[in-house]
């Protein structure tokens, strides 16, 4: 069903930002619906403004639309005013490119970067005219899949999706399209069994969890032959070709800029950080390719800002030459380049200064903790003296605002650790005062630590809400009267939801349904978040939110995400969890390999990849080279093999 433009014309004048719902942006790809064989909807479970800033979606859109027989169109969740207007007019959720209803597609890929989007997934399916539960959708409906960081614990959403794609989607997405072409006219069971054979694809209905009487997970068993005991995440052995033809939105969006990934993964090993664990190994894009890409993006999009993305941009090997080359080349073009995720190092200040061209709005750091003891526990060690030196460098070069991000509620934290955050903020302000007097500012963002699956802290508890409130009050008290310090924190209930969904099991799916039924939506938006409804939703599902969030896990506990293999061994994570409690630190793993498991999981790929492409040490065992060269390695497409061969033999 194609949505009639005249019907839309009656609705759109009455909603906020109607330009979100009309498509037609430059670089959007409109293919012929009737003659294109496989139709994929790429959906982001939040409003256009946020979804359009998602790089993962842009990458898949680019890859799929480059295939002649595939079309990919974008779908976002309408803002509540538009949702109400659509329901009133009986309009289904539609794609922006050709305005086809969600149900008209063959495959629906939904991006799941974080848990607060779960309720919106239900809105998306329901407004699209699809039954919510995977079990209720037969082959007449599109196959609904999910990918993204949150998929590393897929269980809370397991009953809604037909399958999940674990890890990086660049290669596997085309394997899924091919598999779909084979089984498009088969029944749903056959279709899903075929999908389950693809490495990295997890089909939840082919697994059965069993629980102990106390509610803990006892076992998690595959039910059919195709279902593997462990689903190993997919990775691309080298950085995939970058997107240059970004869709350029007409309306203002959250990150109104293009981005280029300069590096994937991070070698620092911060123990709370899920991205730092699940995006291993660290791969870098060559400086030449980055330069060419910036050039191509400016030509093809006209964007006035490009973000150089990575988890820790100053760890990029050639960061200084790169920044120098970029700032020289583009100094006169009114193109601004941003370097988010910088580490607290004085060299960073030089680099950011070079890119700033006088635009000095604020300088951001994330020390996360303020005492040396706490920093050792989380394995993010930045001595206070060093931080103050960097603050000195920042203020002396003209910045008047320094933004500091901290986390409270990390394991073993005491009130002294919390007070130290306030002291540090005052110290930084004092540095700023010397340079800018009363105009110096420090903005302190204090978030609450939420334990995440696949991290050393996955065994830790979320602080109880009273403790969080008390710690926040300590900070407010300590910073009272500190003019120039602005303190921000988040609501404890937001952390509770994140924690109870993030480490939830399959039973939590029922609570998500209850919450959605009660009207929960846009939970990541402060003004829409309704913690009381979520509490009731858990209760009515016979579940206790606190049991999921505030319970420290047992060392030998079976986790609901144990069958999802991020390449890091659980045993290694546990050892690191113990090390944390002893205050033992690990240095950057580029300096010394701690054998986290990633090389074991991907030894074949590693053997074939040029040594300099990964920050991990090369595999020396010739047997793995051999196997890999015979093609007995998972997840290596002919195109990627060619790319690697070229990189290896023509450096």
């Amino acid at each position: 069903m194609q949505i009639d433009e005249q019907v839309l014309d009656r609705i759109l004048p009455g909603v906020q930002k109607p330009g979100r719902y009309t498509g037609g942006e430059f670089n959007s790809v409109v293919k012929d619906w009737d003659t294109t064989e496989v139709k994929v909807a790429l959906a982001f479970p939040d409003v256009y403004d946020l979804g359009m800033s998602n790089l993962g979606l842009a990458i898949l859109y680019d890859i799929l639309n480059k295939e002649a027989r595939v079309l990919a169109e974008r779908v976002f969740v309408p803002w509540p005013d538009m949702e109400a207007a659509m329901r009133k007019a009986g309009l289904p959720l539609y794609s922006l490119e050709t305005r086809h209803a969600l149900g008209d597609f063959d495959l629906i890929g939904i991006s799941l970067p974080y848990e607060q989007l779960y309720s919106n997934v239900l809105t998306l399916l329901d407004l699209g005219g699809l039954p919510l539960w995977s079990a209720a959708r037969d082959e007449r409906y599109p196959l609904v899949m999910a990918g993204g960081s949150a998929v590393f614990n897929p269980e809370p959403m397991a009953d809604y999706f037909d399958f999940f794609v674990v890890g990086e989607g660049e290669q596997v997405i085309l394997e899924i399209v091919e598999a779909f072409r084979e089984v498009r006219s088969a029944d749903r069971e056959t279709q899903l069994r075929r999908m389950a054979r693809i490495p990295g694809v997890y089909v939840p209905r082919f697994y059965a969890p069993a629980y102990f009487q106390d509610g803990m997970l006892a076992s998690f068993e595959p039910l059919v032959e195709e279902a593997k005991k462990h689903i190993v995440k997919r990775i691309t052995p080298m950085m995939p070709p970058p997107v240059t033809r970004f869709v350029v939105p007409f309306v203002d969006v959250v990150f109104n800029r293009a981005s280029i990934e300069i590096q994937r993964g991070c070698t620092r090993g911060c123990r709370f950080c899920q991205a730092g664990m699940i995006f291993r190994p660290v791969r870098e894009r060559s400086m030449e390719e980055i330069m060419e890409t910036v050039d191509a993006i400016t030509r093809e999009t006209g964007y006035e800002e490009i973000g150089l993305l990575s988890l820790s941009s100053t760890d990029y090997t050639k960061i200084a030459p790169l920044v120098k080359a970029l700032s020289e080349k583009y100094s006169n073009c009114n193109l601004s380049l941003s370097l988010p995720s910088s580490r607290v190092e004085s060299v960073t200040v030089d680099l950011v200064d070079m890119l700033a061209h006088g635009r000095k709005t604020g300088f951001t750091f994330a020390p996360e903790a303020a005492t040396d003891r706490m920093r050792d526990v989380i394995n993010k060690s930045i001595p206070t003296e060093e931080l103050l030196e960097v603050a000195e460098a920042v203020y002396s070069r003209g910045w008047r605002l320094v933004k500091l991000y901290f986390m409270i509620g990390q394991p073993t934290e005491t009130d002294e650790d919390v007070q130290a955050i306030a002291q540090l903020a005052r110290q930084v302000l004092a540095v700023g005062r010397r340079h800018h007097g009363r105009r110096a500012q420090v903005r302190v963002g204090v978030s609450t630590f939420v334990p995440k699956p696949h991290t050393p802290f996955q065994w830790a508890a979320l602080d109880d809400l009273e403790a969080i409130r008390r710690k926040q009050a300590i900070l407010r008290n300590e910073l009272r009267g500190a003019r120039g310090v602005i303190l921000n924190w988040n609501e404890p209930e937001e952390s509770l939801l994140e924690a109870s969904l993030g480490r939830g099991d399959r039973r939590v799916g029922r609570a998500i349904f209850n919450a959605w039924k009660k009207g929960c939506k846009f939970d990541a938006w402060h003004e829409h978040f309704q913690p009381d409804l979520w509490r009731q939703a858990f209760e009515e599902a016979g579940l206790d939110q606190g049991w999921y969030a505030h319970r420290a896990r047992l060392a030998d506990e079976v986790f609901p995400w144990d069958h999802i293999d991020a390449g890091i061994q659980k045993r290694w994570l546990l050892m690191d969890w113990y090390a944390a409690q002893q205050g033992e630190t690990k240095i950057d793993c580029r300096e010394h390999c701690f054998n986290c498991g990633i090389l074991t999981a991907f030894k074949g790929l590693r053997a074939l990849t040029p040594p300099e492409a990964w920050e991990c040490p090369p595999i020396r065992n010739p047997r793995w080279r051999e196997l890999a060269e015979q093609g007995k390695v998972i997840g290596l497409t002919p195109g990627m093999r060619k790319l690697m061969a070229e990189a290896r033999y023509n450096p």
């Binding site: 330009g19 719902y21 037609g24 942006e25 007409f250 309306v251 030509r299 006209g302």
Partner: protein, 223 residues
């Protein structure tokens, strides 16, 4: 920074089609800036920490309107012929935006916003009023000396005299529950009226009306 100074001013007449009718004035300006950047033309920018592209749209087109002949000035740092600019822009415009004409104007000529005087609109509306009825209402409206209109300013409703802002009003046709009106209204800094105000004065419902701004009239047009 001598090289960044404006060297040439080109006046672009363009249409903003139905595909873009929900794109606001501010968003349209950014859309043009990005298109000009894609085209690789030497667009001039203001100096300072937050450089702004030197690009001026004559008049904001309200959300939902179609523009048949909107006007914009673009300042360039290096001379470019109108034909060259048109050729550069053609492949980089989003659907719904097209260039109708480009002419060079003196760098120092008055700004489009200050020179704008009137605008011509074509309004298609849903009404079962007969042509005869509509004609009569139009005659009555044009016959009065004063016409109470209401507009919102600074979040307060205020009354104003609409009559001197209505220069012409005519019926193009009415049939089968639809009618098309034409109107020439004041526009710009010295007085501005919206077609909806005229519809209200005619006592016909504005809901569902399709408005096209077909022409902008400037002070220099009358010479």
């Amino acid at each position: 920074m001598e090289s960044m100074a404006g060297k040439q001013r080109l006046r672009v007449t363009f249409s903003k089609g139905p595909r873009l009718k929900y794109i606001s004035h501010l968003d349209l300006a950014l859309t043009w800036e990005r298109a000009l950047r894609r085209a690789g033309v030497p667009l001039a920018y203001s100096q300072g920490h937050n450089p702004q592209a030197k690009l001026q749209l004559a008049s904001g087109l309200p959300l939902g309107y179609i523009g048949c002949a909107e006007v914009m000035d673009v300042i360039l740092t290096e001379p470019l012929s109108p034909v060259q600019l048109a050729a550069c822009l053609q492949p980089v415009l989003p659907q719904g935006l097209s260039v109708i004409g480009i002419e060079e104007v003196p760098l120092k000529s008055p700004s489009l916003q200050s020179a704008l005087r009137q605008a011509v609109y074509r309004v298609r509306l849903e009404t079962w009023l007969t042509a005869h009825d509509l004609e009569r209402r139009i005659r009555d409206l044009l016959a009065v000396d004063r016409l109470e209109g209401q507009r919102i300013r600074k979040q307060r409703a205020e009354n104003f005299d609409l009559r001197p802002l209505v220069h012409d009003l005519w019926l193009e046709g009415a049939d089968q529950g639809q009618a098309v009106l034409g109107m020439r209204l004041s526009a710009g800094q010295r007085g501005h009226a919206r077609p909806e105000a005229v519809l209200a004065a005619l006592d016909v419902p504005a809901a569902g009306a399709h408005v096209e701004r077909s022409q902008l009239l400037f002070e220099f047009d009358s010479h």
